[in-house]
Amino acid sequence: MKKLSRNPDVNWRVESHREAHVREVLEDPSRTGEDAEAVDVGTVTILAGGVMHQLNLLGGEIWKLCDGSLDRGSLAVRLLEMFDVDADTLKEDANAFIDEMMEKGLINEE
């Protein structure tokens, strides 16, 4: 199976402060009203070709997992361990994200 890897020429980092905030909101049942805003917060910053991209929590986790060791199927399994959501929806979202990142030359699949 083809493995997913980040473009090695791309600079990136985890926005640890923001990531902690998003996790705090998502894990606190009393803050459900803030969920919608939190899922859009950029937790990973990617700098490519002079452009700065922000990835939300799901995108950021996919990005981090693209270390060359996982294919789409095994990556989805890892994501399902992290996110308590419908498996088919998650796979669909993850595949759409990976396709988009491949189009931009940020992720390779080989």
Binding site: N11, R13, V14, E15, S16, H17, R18, H21, V41, T45, L47, G50, V51, M52, Q54
Partner: protein, 341 residues
């Protein structure tokens, strides 16, 4: 701007390792500044901290970086910590040997300042006869050493009519990007702004022309960024933040470890070796003011404010002492009706 909206640390740190310089340029923000320098051991500690915080880029300026004996050691160490290191130089000291050492240290790229395609005009602006020729030579030495180079050009009255000639200079000497910097009225830049700075309407015309030239080229990147460009009809900025990037994407470190929002804002908001970096980044009252500006004067009610956020905070601060004042380069008329017309 809420703290949770902030990036966890600056993406870029502009670092003046020293204000010492072999030039006395007409627009220099730091010519009259003097501070103590950090010893190498403390500079390494600063590098460690920046790497641990996730800073991506360090750009050495100042001061002329090539005057520093330990520049190569510092750079090699920063590169070993995963940082991308660049510098801005006047090129005077960048001979073939220096270019080889630059390559060995691992510089990501080197920016050479050239302010006019006319040698005499450049030498006059930089107050150093022969500096144009040596700047061009430095680009050739960098190319020979396989180091990526860029050219930095400060737009001012002297080059307003012929700056496009810089495109051929970049092509002929292997520079991959031409940076067009807007004039900052800080330090000597303020002293000489009367005869060097453009009028607001000239800035508006310049940016219109620069966008046209930029979009017509495929072999050279022309890069310029100014929040007041939001006032150009139809212009869409692709920046990661609105308004000034200082204090949102970048910070400046002074030679003694002092932290300032930007090299052109001479306000020290902490010290990187003495203060908690996160506390400065997230809680500095000065940064908070820059991140949460209040429109005043002609900015109040202006259609562009939502995108430009008052323009360059450094220019507003230099001229009025307030970050909230309208950018003095802004060409939008004072009359709100004319503004929205």
């Amino acid at each position: 701007m809420k703290n949770r909206d902030l990036l966890s640390a600056p993406v870029t740190v502009n670092w003046s390792l020293s204000y010492r310089c072999n030039f006395a340029c007409s627009h220099c923000y730091s010519r009259k500044l003097e501070t103590a320098l950090l010893p190498l051991s403390e500079i390494r500690s600063v590098v460690d901290l920046l790497a641990d915080k996730g800073v991506v880029f360090i750009n050495f300026g100042g001061g002329e970086p090539l005057l520093l004996e330990n520049l190569y050691d510092i750079t090699a160490y920063a590169v070993s910590r995963g940082l991308k290191v660049t510098m801005n130089t006047n090129g005077w000291l960048l001979d073939p040997d220096a270019a080889v050492r630059i390559a060995a240290a691992g510089f990501h790229s080197v920016g050479v300042s050239i302010d006019s395609p006319d040698p005499k005009a450049h030498d006059l602006f930089r107050n150093r006869p022969g500096s144009f020729a040596r700047a061009l030579n430095s680009l050739d030495h960098l190319r020979q050493a396989d180091v990526q180079s860029t050219v930095s050009c400060v737009i001012n009255r002297m080059n307003l009519d012929n700056w496009t000639g810089m495109v051929d200079i970049c092509r002929d000497h292997g520079a991959r990007t031409l940076y067009l910097h807007n004039y900052k009225c800080t330090g000597m830049g303020q002293v000489n702004m009367g005869h060097l700075d453009l009028t607001p309407s000239q800035w508006g015309d310049f940016y219109g022309e620069a966008l046209t030239v930029r979009d017509s080229l495929s072999d050279l990147v022309i890069s310029f960024d100014d929040p007041i460009m939001a006032a150009i009809p139809g212009y869409k900025a692709d920046g990661a933040v609105k308004g000034s990037t200082c204090g949102k994407l970048s910070l400046h470190i002074e030679p003694d470890g002092g932290i300032s929002p930007c090299g052109f804002i001479p306000v020290t908001i902490g010290n990187i070796l003495e203060d908690d970096f996160d506390r400065v980044w997230f809680d500095s009252p000065v940064l908070e003011k820059m991140r949460s500006k209040t429109p005043t004067g002609k900015c109040s009610g202006c259609d562009s404010y939502e995108d430009c956020l008052g323009g360059c905070s450094a220019r507003a601060f230099a001229m009025t002492g307030s970050f909230d004042s309208p950018d003095p380069h802004c060409w939008v008329p004072d009359d709100p009706e004319e503004c929205s017309a």
